[in-house]
């Protein structure tokens, strides 16, 4: 009973919230171009179904591609950093600099340099997203249990054996935790890049639709795009949670 209540709680809370919202909109007669109610938002979504869904797919593809690139890049750089102290010293500060520079500031440059629009968006989103994978995987590789490393040495393991049979599997939970953070960031990066690209006239994705709806004062449509963006975030978060559950089940760590 308690368990089912707990599962249902967020939905109930959401429905109550939406109900109150709609009631407030009706009660106060607030104009739709200031605050549309949930019904108006659903109507706006239905009215622009194909375009908004296409934008949803476009944004999600950019975020997913950026996440894949981030995962590959993050793991490769983490491996390089684990393999040599010199490479670690060389890479780390640049990774941090890239991470702390706001992507909004770099995005216009990237969009000018990279001619292919989809690619440009992916590059921007990757710049935002790759750091958590890198730092977490590096931390995981560094935290390989010392006794197990000794055991591998005692048995004459080669460097490659130690890497593939011990260090990578031991770093897997760290990598997956980093990937979950990167997933959310990839979406943020995709949205920011779309805003910048969108103000330059390149039409794509949900962020561009939000921008466009804002210019036209179609606030309900703006909310509909926002709602889809939230769904994209939930989808990425849920998918990565599932991935990590599947890969780590029946492991202690």
């Amino acid at each position: 009973m308690n368990k089912t209540m707990e599962r249902a709680a967020p939905f109930l809370f959401g429905i109550i919230g939406l109900g109150l919202w709609q009631a407030a909109v009706w009660g106060t007669g607030i104009p739709v171009y200031v605050l549309p109610g949930p019904i108006a938002i659903v109507q706006a979504y239905a009215g622009d179904f194909a375009t908004l869904n296409q934008a949803f797919v476009s944004t999600l593809s950019v975020a997913a591609a950026a996440l894949l690139v981030s995962a590959a890049l993050g793991v490769l750089l983490a491996l390089a950093m684990a393999a040599s102290a010199l490479l670690r010293a060389a890479i780390q500060p640049w990774a941090v600099i890239l991470q702390v520079t706001p992507v909004v500031a770099i995005a216009p440059l990237i969009i000018i340099w990279v001619n292919q629009p989809f690619l440009a968006l992916v590059v921007c989103a990757t710049v935002v997203a790759f750091f958590p994978v890198l730092s977490n995987t590096a931390a995981g590789l560094a935290a390989t249990p010392r006794d197990l490393l000794d055991l591998f040495r005692l048995n004459g393991a080669t460097r490659l054996q130690t890497l593939f049979l011990l260090r990578l599997p031991a770093a897997l939970p760290y990598f997956l935790a980093g990937l979950r953070v990167s997933g959310t960031l990839a979406l943020v990066g995709a949205v920011v890049a779309e805003f910048v690209a969108g103000s330059g006239g390149f039409a794509s994705g949900l962020a561009f639709r939000i921008l466009e709806a804002g210019y036209r004062l179609e606030i309900a449509r703006m909310f509909a795009a926002l709602m889809l963006l939230a769904f994209a975030g939930i989808a990425i978060y849920g998918a990565l949670g599932l991935l990590s559950h599947l890969m780590l089940r029946r492991r202690e760590i």
């Binding site: 000794d150 055991l151 040495r153 005692l154 048995n155 004459g156 599997p169 029946r250 760590i253």
Partner: protein, 245 residues
Amino acid sequence: MMTLQGVSKTFSNGTLALEDISTTIARGEFVALLGPSGCGKSTLLRLLADLESPSTGAITWAEGPPKPGEIGFVFQDATLMPWASAAENVFLPLKLRGQSRAAALPQVTAALSQVGLADFSAAKPAALSGGMKMRVSIARALVSQPKLLLMDEPFAALDEFTRHKLQEDLRTLWRRSGKTVIFVTHSIYEAAYLATRILVMSPRPGRIAAEIASTVAEATDRRTAPDYIDLVKKISGILRAVMPA
């Protein structure tokens, strides 16, 4: 089996961990290295395993320095790979030497049976108790059939019931196999129960303060036998005499 001659170890931070350790360990002995925390007994074990090198002195092996797999090492924690089953964990030393899973299966099964875990080969470490994990760890050390078994306080983290059982099983295993065992412990009772010879170590710097040969007879009721209790008293007396106040 091996002779240590004036072995000292100074760590890079300047700590003198071991000073002038000299002893000879014969084949088939069960030697306990007994001492308080920080007396360098684990360091001595790591030197024997060639995980560290002595700063001065030398370790000479009667039959040449051991090759990979000729030493079985058991750590204080079970240190199993949590993502691998018991059998996979035991298979590891053979896998690292390029053996195929199929070829190694009889040895893996035998090692798991030796520690009484034949039925748990598919279990992941998370599903095993502390004592069972330690048994898997011992099976992993035995699977390559080493002549020398180095054990670093393997039972220190277990409850007393489990510890007694594992001590008994280890003794049986040692008597049957004729392996040389060097066993680090800080428990007087454990040393007296298990070993044929006890090297008492004193701390800062670690040295061998006394050497006691056990004369406890083989018997099923070793723990209550008068000669065992005498040995415990004797070791306690020596400890009081050699330990700094």
